[in-house]
Symmetry: C5
Subunit: 255 residues, 5 copies
């Protein structure tokens, strides 16, 4: 598991190599990004629409989304058949919140809006993370620039730690995260994106794992259950298995 978690200011200088410090400085200058995962569900009325109207509606919806690809990084995933009540998901990343709202407003004005219900969403921000991956010095470079959506599958869920976790010392938490990361590195095919929701949405974190191999991810999550950090989990559901597909494919699967 490659992570995008970064060195923290609380680390002693012994563990922070000079180039890491530079990296930290670089990061501090990097603007933060807003992240939004919205899961849509087709209302049954969609299936009563005439084929021609369906076709036009889908094209209009896809075009409306495309209008925002200049302002936002946008990826789409199909959840058809993998979970009830959600049919597809749109992952949006941008440096401002307004385009996310504008895009949603634009989609609300399409014909498909009559038939699509946003069933669940997670709002978060990227941030300088405070946990370090001490075993992988090479990893560092990549973590400044993450290219999302490169794998077939995305596994997304909200995450809330118990308040007891936050009463542990920084050292104790670092030690527990080291164990966590050590296990993660055994699963090279799995890439973790951690984003932050404190105060913005019901969860503390939104975690999103990319991989081409669901079995690897399942084994990783099961193995992580045995870590000490795992016992400080308050909530980590609902969990969404998402298959990367073009938006056209996502809409076609709605029936």
């Amino acid at each position: 598991m490659s992570t995008d978690k970064e060195p923290t200011a609380t680390r002693g200088s012994l563990r922070l190599a000079p180039n890491c410090i530079e990296l930290e400085e670089q990061k501090a200058k990097l603007p933060r990004q807003f992240v939004n995962f919205t899961f849509y569900h087709a209302r049954p009325e969609w299936r009563t629409v005439a084929e021609d109207d369906k076709k036009r509606s889908k094209e209009e919806f896809i075009n409306a989304v495309d209008e925002f690809r200049k302002q936002l990084l946008i990826h789409s995933y199909s959840t058809i058949g993998l979970r009830t009540n959600v049919d597809f998901m749109i992952w949006r990343i941008g440096s401002e919140l307004d385009p996310i709202q504008e895009m949603t407003s634009r989609l609300n004005h399409t014909q498909m809006a009559k038939y699509l219900e946003p069933a669940q969403s997670f709002l978060s921000m990227t941030k300088r993370s405070m946990y370090i991956d001490k075993d992988n010095p090479e990893h560092v470079e990549d973590r400044l620039h993450i290219i999302p959506g490169k794998s077939d599958y995305l596994f997304v869920y909200p995450f809330v730690k118990t308040r007891e976790w936050y009463s542990r010392s920084a050292d104790q938490r670092q030690e527990m995260m080291d164990e966590h990361i050590r296990i993660g590195t055994k699963y090279r095919s799995v890439k973790l994106h951690t984003t932050y929701s404190f105060g913005l949405d019901d969860q503390e974190f939104v975690v999103a794992f990319e991989t081409d191999n669901p079995a690897d991810f399942l084994d990783l999550v099961q193995e992580l259950r045995e870590t000490k950090a795992s016992s400080y989990t308050l909530r980590d559901t609902p969990m969404f298995t998402c298959r990367q597909r073009t938006l056209a494919e996502c809409l076609e699967a709605l029936g």
Copy 2:
């Protein structure tokens, strides 16, 4: 974070400067205000309304709201795209409950009422009359009077403390609140409004944070997790990220 938390009467006089005591006495004489946050959701049927009818309906709704601006302080926020199931929020403040009920009744008689579902609301009171109207030249913001709705973003959530909190001594609680406030003061861009719901609604408090910078607020909430007071939180969800917009803009975004 500037707070509108008053020093409590249980604090020793050593810590309360004389002018603070005077301030407290002034406050005790001020009447209290009712506060209501109502989140609305557009039913899918709204999107089947003809454009002309939509336009008229929106105008009628806006006018109906405006009728009550003499009796109530009213602010509107768009939540489109930031959370499913709520599309906009109306924040109302008044010295009586009746106008809040009358306004809701009035809105129920508009055409838009067919298509708008109040999806969530929070009812609370101030412990003193603290909000004033910025458009009223006679009103001056000072330590006793706050002009609400001056920032781009409002973050609102209900808050319930564990019963264990209430079994701690007044001194212990004051000490924990002091730590809490100390952290808050590091985030100057964030302004906290605490109102009280004991017995009036499901939560104990409604907390509303105003800021122009969501990242500051996120960092503040994350930092507050490490305080002792935080471990006495029983519930602090759902959390709503709200973008200040005119009511016309809020309605336009519904599609």
Copy 3:
């Protein structure tokens, strides 16, 4: 806070004045009453009904309710604007359950039944209470005959104590209730009705507070959080703020 809680058989004779014993005997002979609070919500379809039909429907509904005023004590409250998903509440008290069912059946046959959804209800009974108000000997007489619905506001919520509460000795519980009642008596404007739901509905008690001054009630509930008894609360939500109104006023507010 005046309470309708009565002396218990477990009290020693020293604390029970002779006239109290007589009172107890009187009470034992008093039949118990059934109590039902039903909260109604208008479906959006109501707002599509023609004005004339609305008028007739409302009159028919009011007349149907009035038919049962001989058999049941009936009070109505508007909750419009104070909480989503409930619009008004009907409080019914009677010596038999059958009229409560017959009245509901009768209402189901009205035109308005198509548009009204009973969204929440609480079923309970009155009973000889076991807690005593040792500080208010004069209170006793009134507590045999309570006249409900004399205040502008009613605050209603279900109440469940932790099972640990029931494992405390009668003396310990009495002591905690004494503290509870002592605080209540400071709020003279607030009157408490406690009724019992054990086995009849999901809660153990339904508590209903009457007052003309919501702020007093809020302060009372907040102060009660600091009592020992409060730590034995398992559930006390949802909480409903209800404004006494004629049924005609309640229906008019639906739009």
Copy 4:
């Protein structure tokens, strides 16, 4: 409270009289029965049906139920006005599951199925065949055979014990159950039916109390809160107060 709880095999012989042992042996040979409680709710569309169609629909529904009275013991209860979201309940008892499914399928083919929503159900089994049909002259109620549905009221709820309960020794549990039963026997008007749902439905037990006097049942449940066994209750809601009525009466009350 008379109970249909059998003395357990773990009880010492000193406490089991010889005829009890024989009784136990008899019971072990008796086949077991399936029990199903289904609560129905009328959709608002029901109230838009023409009176003639309503009449025919109700007759057809009643006839469809009657077809299964040879294979199943069937009792009906009205819950109108006593709890929102459920209007009536059908209690079915049979030696096989298939007739329960066949009857539901048959009801799904009636006109009323368009307007009736099964809102809640409990599936369970007896540990022996204990219910008999009072209309069958060959059937005699004795300690092994219970005729259900002989009282005006039925109180039904699901029941789950804490896992800690199951870690107590058989003797400890027996002692706690003895206390429980001792209190129950004080309420002669209340008759308890315990059935078992382990693995078949979300609860461990479905408990159903029959009585003509709701106040007795309420007092019993309140008194049972003070037993040791009560502290091992994990869940005992939702609780349904059900009034025995003919199916025709149940349907008439729907409006």
Copy 5:
């Protein structure tokens, strides 16, 4: 209860017979399978469809399912009358996720999709490829390969262990599982399938028990409550009692 739980690698060699070790090695090489249980609910609108259209719709739906029997093992179960809100269940097993999504998309394009709501689903994986098709003459059931769907009843539920379980040593857990399995082996008629959902869906495991005798299963689950392992259960609901039926029979029961 025969189980498909493998002896774990943590067990000492003394307890693993040589042929078991070989078996383990064989298993490790076997590919894994995806498993999906989807529960469907007929919307009330289904009952308004003309008989002829119903017939055609059912045939089309059955044919659409049959198209996927080459790529997926598919079994159907009726839940009519045994639980509200779900009417039938389709159990799918395959070596790839894509056919599960393609089949769902195909079903969404049928006429019945207008009337069927997927109400609940569970997604999981085997830890090895264990299921085979009984209709394929080349497939032989042995210790590595299980033919699913050979019993009248299937009992399905999600399963989450407490985090405390995962902090117990491998030996302690093995000892607890040994007790669990020892009890299971007393119920020869019950066959357990355990599949894994870590990270893929809200539960950790999906457990599915096959038997022709529901009473045996009920007794097994009740007896398992007394094991030590049982005290580490965090969630094991909702529980579904499913009756194996052809898809035609499942659809016929919808009305």
